[in-house]
Assembly symmetry: C2
């Protein structure tokens, strides 16, 4: 497959498929547009968890045990911060911290988040384009019975315990897409857009809340394919299923496909949910979507790209 | 000895004597007023090397090998920062970094440097008052043949190599003394002021450049005693001797005493310079001033305090 592929992703689950795509595609063919709705200012530092997870994952620096942060990490900073009475609920490893300090320093010096991210990706030797969805701040705010919580307060400090009543993406109404995100979606060579198996509400919706990005995704000629974040009614990781229950949404991939209705041209369903395939009102590809090994990531990436090629052929056949 | 003692100090050498005083004095009897002229903004963090050296020294957390930073330090942050292309000429250990990040965060939140320093001292269990000379920024600028260098550029990045032609303490003309520094020098119970064996030009002069602090030191009733930073024409550590040569100043304790002329009531001279004693125009105490062991620090502290008691008795005898 030649041409350009765009992946939309959040953190862990999404980044796994992004890695698979990165490994099976030619160099520079992949652009990963990453959620920044869970970015936040912490200890005076700008922390971008999903961007960093994507960078670390593509660079093979990710911590496989924790599912976030870097491998071979040390924790001296965090231990010491606690002795100073500093906030220790959000854990920052010593190596991870270097990225937050350096990024914050460059942002204060006038660089954009896109520029900093591209520079770090280059330093890491990553030959995909890793692009934050926007250089303007968008902040996911989680409505709960006890009031609205900033995302990381909900996600990390409160471990997703409060019931979600509503989600809001503060800043999305005025945020502009990152230049490279816009350009990738506008590229004449664009072959497919893959919505990775990230949480639709927490990881993909912030991106879709930027009107011009959503408009591009709706209008784009290349097929848009969503990969299910639900397998047998459960999410592999994270609170997707819990949130769907709390928002009174049926906990099935059909709900996810309906959620992306005006955007997607195809849906990748897990084998264990194969009996649902006939109920989708878009083409469905059934395969194993659980990515345990690196081979799983590559295999799923190939399946998704093959599915895209089929949809592309059908689309052009119709035209 | 009851009552209050004030020590003025810079980094390493000065902090050694401050530790000696701290250990031989009753709890809460010591106030250490610390140079902030070598503070700087680095990677977006406010770094206060002399304040931190003093805190670490009094808390028995200082790194004995390096002479700065913390013992049992790890360096993951610094190593990683270098891989990101960040500035790595000023080394920040992972534990040390916790203090810089937390301090910067609190300063941005509106706390004063005095408040942050007192809070950290309390966390460390230090029962002396550790006080920055001012909460307003004063920055030592080093004039050299290649132009003026910010202090840390000169001191760390350039390893004191450039020839010093002039020193300037930017901000000192408008900086106010830290409230607790002013209060300590105005205290009715003040028994002595000790100018620790720090570099007069780099560590003590920034403090003396704050007019109201200098005025307090000149007018105070309690004896002011300077401890020689030179032993046999050399400094134990640091560029004191080199700078004196470059500024065309005779490299002898007499020059230091003359430098403090309008402030000091007595001078502590090292035994190996005993032959100079008669040339001073103030009372001189001759003793071993080189502090290798903890016992050395305590012994010198006791000698200085005894000398102060003698001077105090003479002063009151004259009154």
């Amino acid at each position: 497959m030649s041409g350009q592929i765009v992946a939309l992703c959040g953190g862990i689950g999404g980044a796994k498929l992004a890695l698979g795509l990165y490994r099976v595609l030619p160099q520079h063919a992949l652009t990963v547009i990453v959620n920044t709705g869970d970015d936040f200012e912490h200890l005076g530092l700008t922390v971008c968890p999903d961007v960093d997870t994507t960078l670390y994952t593509l660079a093979d620096l990710a911590n496989p045990e924790l599912g976030w942060g870097r491998r071979d990490e040390t924790w001296t900073f965090m231990r010491t911060l606690a002795t100073l009475g500093g906030e220790s609920w959000f854990r920052l490893g010593d190596a991870d911290l270097a990225l937050h300090v350096e990024r914050t320093h460059r942002l204060r010096g006038g660089a954009t988040l896109s520029e900093v991210t591209a520079a770090v990706a280059a330093r890491f030797g990553i030959t995909a384009h890793v692009v934050p969805m926007s250089d303007d701040p968008v902040r996911t705010m989680v409505g709960t019975p006890e009031g609205e919580l900033p995302f990381q307060e909900y996600f990390v400090r409160r471990r997703c315990e409060p019931r979600v009543t509503r989600l809001r993406y503060a800043g999305a109404e005025t945020a502009r897409p990152a230049p490279r995100a816009h350009a990738a979606l506008a590229s004449a060579g664009l072959q497919a857009i893959v919505i990775c198996p990230s949480n639709p509400y927490l990881s993909i919706d912030p991106l879709l809340a930027i009107a011009s990005l959503r408009a591009q995704l709706t209008a784009v000629a290349a097929p848009v394919i969503a990969v299910t974040p639900l397998v047998g009614g459960r999410a592999i990781k994270g609170p997707t299923a819990k949130i769907m229950t709390e928002l009174d949404l049926p906990r099935t991939p059909l709900t996810v496909a309906a959620h992306y209705r005006d955007i997607i041209d195809g849906f990748v369903l897990d084998s264990c949910d194969a009996e649902l395939a006939a109920q989708f009102d878009c083409p469905v590809q059934v395969c194993d979507t659980v990515m345990l090994s690196l081979a799983d990531r590559e295999r799923l990436a190939r399946e998704v790209l093959d599915f895209a090629a089929t949809l592309r052929a059908q689309k052009s056949g119709r035209q």
